[in-house]
């Protein structure tokens, strides 16, 4: 089993994606059988058929669409804030080298700190409302945007900067016409990472403080011991997260088509 021997002769005509889906379906089928035959208690794991059947009920009765919009709104608000403040902070740090030297390691350390654990503190400061969730998402997602903005600005090709100088561009023109467009793909990597962190933290805090959109839905259903509904809601959140990441990835590819 090595990299060279990775292409097995028997698997040449079978699509890997098909095998992945088939494996998932077989696993679900086995789980269904084990639960129906009482090898696994249905009070711990509901049968997959029951989970699938509860999707419609959860979507209609639990107002999933409006909850989704609420979570999306919180994400967008945090996203706008972290884009504005993160990019501004990164540009400032790139412009003022002393500030960059003094603070870059702090920002990197902030990225490693489990900021989400300060959510009780945010609840005290902002109250148990959407602002706690938005600010939590914002602060937890800020470091990658700042760091990637600094990286993007610093890696602008010298020749582009020289072209700007040869045209006698003002510092503002140099920034808006040369530096910022050149750094944009790297900055977007930071924004993408930031948005992913923001979504993770927003859904997580919604679940923990039992307030808001999709995170609260899972908590509500779990507290009502609606097992099939809980599993269905978790599947729904996973689906939304995956679609969100895919959309961000597509946007990033569109921004940097060469890579």
């Amino acid at each position: 089993m090595t990299i060279a021997a990775s292409q097995q002769p028997g698997t040449r005509f079978v699509s890997p994606a098909l095998v992945g889906v088939a494996t998932l379906l077989v696993a679900l089928l086995i789980m269904e059988l084990l639960i129906q035959l009482n090898f696994i208690s249905r009070f711990i794991v509901p049968p997959p058929s029951e989970i699938v059947a509860s999707f419609g009920r959860v979507i209609v009765e639990e107002h999933v669409f409006s909850r989704f919009l609420l979570t999306l709104g919180e994400c967008l608000m945090a996203g706008v804030m972290l884009t504005v403040f993160g990019i501004a902070g990164g540009v400032l740090m790139h412009r003022v080298k002393l500030l960059q030297q003094a603070c870059e390691t702090w920002v990197a350390a902030m990225a490693a700190a489990p900021l989400v654990l300060a959510y009780p503190l945010f609840m005290v400061i902002f109250g148990r409302n959407a602002w706690t969730i938005i600010m939590m998402g914002f602060f937890a997602a800020l470091p990658p945007v700042i760091l990637k903005t600094v990286e993007g600005m610093a890696s602008t090709r010298k020749v582009l900067v020289n072209v700007g100088r040869s045209f006698n561009l003002t510092p503002a023109q140099q920034f808006w016409k040369i530096m910022f467009p050149a750094a944009l793909p790297t900055i977007f990597v930071g924004v993408r990472l930031g948005l992913i962190f923001a979504l993770i933290n927003i859904v997580g805090v919604e679940f923990l403080i039992n307030y808001g959109g999709l995170g609260q839905l899972i908590n509500d259903l779990a507290e009502r011991y609606d097992l099939a509904g809980t599993y269905a809601a978790i599947c729904f959140v996973i689906l939304v997260s995956v679609l969100f990441f895919m959309a961000l990835e597509k946007t990033e590819r569109w921004l940097r088509p060469i890579d």
Binding site: M1, T2, I3, A4, S6, Q7, Q8, T11, P16, A17, V19, G20, T23, L24, I44, V45, L98, L99, Q101, A102, C103, A109, A112, A113, P114, V116, L117, A118, Y119, P120, L121, M123, V124, I125, I196, L199, I200, N201, V203, G204, F207, L208, G215, I218, N219, L221, A222, L227, T230, Y231, I234, V237, I238, S241, V242, F245, M246
Partner: protein
């Protein structure tokens, strides 16, 4: 004939404190001064921003109390167990996916997209499966830790120098020998990097689970301080926790020699 001394360029004297250090000190002092002003201004609700003295006293009380170390031990044991289970299974799955292109194409996409989903939402399931004790916290930590380790190891596996693999095969190394003598040593950096990422998310997963439902551990202490509105104690615990988390992260990186890697 008049003579002149030879002109020499004298090096500028090194400042006693570098401008970077001065700026850092200035920022810290400014933040502390603003904090203290807010604490005494009455602009915010009382105790939301406690005075530095109160936080310092709470920090001292916290660190001089044996109960805190017991809870720290509980959390550390949960995180350690989660890291062990998640790390080992992540390395095994990573090696499997990295070594076999077909398996990678079939399953790695699931890991890639499931990796960044918020793991805390699985906590109700973990409670059903493993109960309300440490088991559910370890399970959540394991789940959080597994994905970054597996993805990092799979990516590292594909970057192994093919010459090393050919050397192993020319010596007719068995699969186990290939793993222990070639793959694992060649993948030291991706593994350590994965474990570092895994440690961070395992820590978050475990502690968040403790804040949600627990009667021991640091997460429990934090949410308990919130419930009793003991803000200085909460600040003290968050400060200690952040220092420990950042320190552990740096330590794993240093042991793995990640500091020496040129960042691209």
């Amino acid at each position: 004939m008049a003579t002149t001394d030879r002109l020499t360029r004298t090096a500028a004297p090194e400042p006693l404190v570098s401008p970077v250090t001065l700026l850092r000190i200035a920022i810290i002092l400014a933040v502390l001064a603003i904090w203290e002003f807010l604490a005494h201004s009455g602009l915010l609700y009382r105790d939301v921003v406690p005075s530095l003295l109160a936080i310092g006293k709470a920090l001292f009380d916290l660190l001089s109390h044996g109960d805190y170390y017991f809870n720290l031990g509980v959390t550390a044991a949960e995180i350690g167990t989660a890291l062990l289970i998640g790390g080992v299974s992540g390395i095994a799955v990573g090696i499997l996916l990295g070594a076999n292109r077909f398996l990678s194409k079939a399953f790695e996409g699931y890991l890639y997209y499931l990796g960044p989903t918020p793991k805390i939402i699985f906590f109700p399931i973990m409670i059903m499966w493993f109960g309300v004790g440490p088991g559910s916290k370890i399970a959540l930590g394991t789940l959080s830790c597994f994905f970054p380790v597996a993805l990092s190891v799979a990516a590292g596996m594909r970057q192994i120098d093919k010459v090393l693999i050919r050397v192993g095969k020319s010596f007719r190394a068995s699969t186990w020998q290939m793993i222990t003598k070639i793959y694992l040593p060649a993948m030291r950096h991706p593994i350590i990097n994965g474990i570092r990422l895994g440690l961070g998310v395992a820590l978050i997963g475990t502690l968040l689970a403790e804040t949600k439902l627990s009667n021991k551990g640091i997460g429990f202490l934090i949410i308990n301080a919130y419930s009793t509105f003991d803000m200085p104690r909460m600040y003290a615990m968050l400060i200690v926790l952040f220092v420990l988390a950042i320190g552990a992260n740096a330590l794993v990186g240093r042991f793995g020699g990640l500091e020496g890697i040129k960042r691209t």
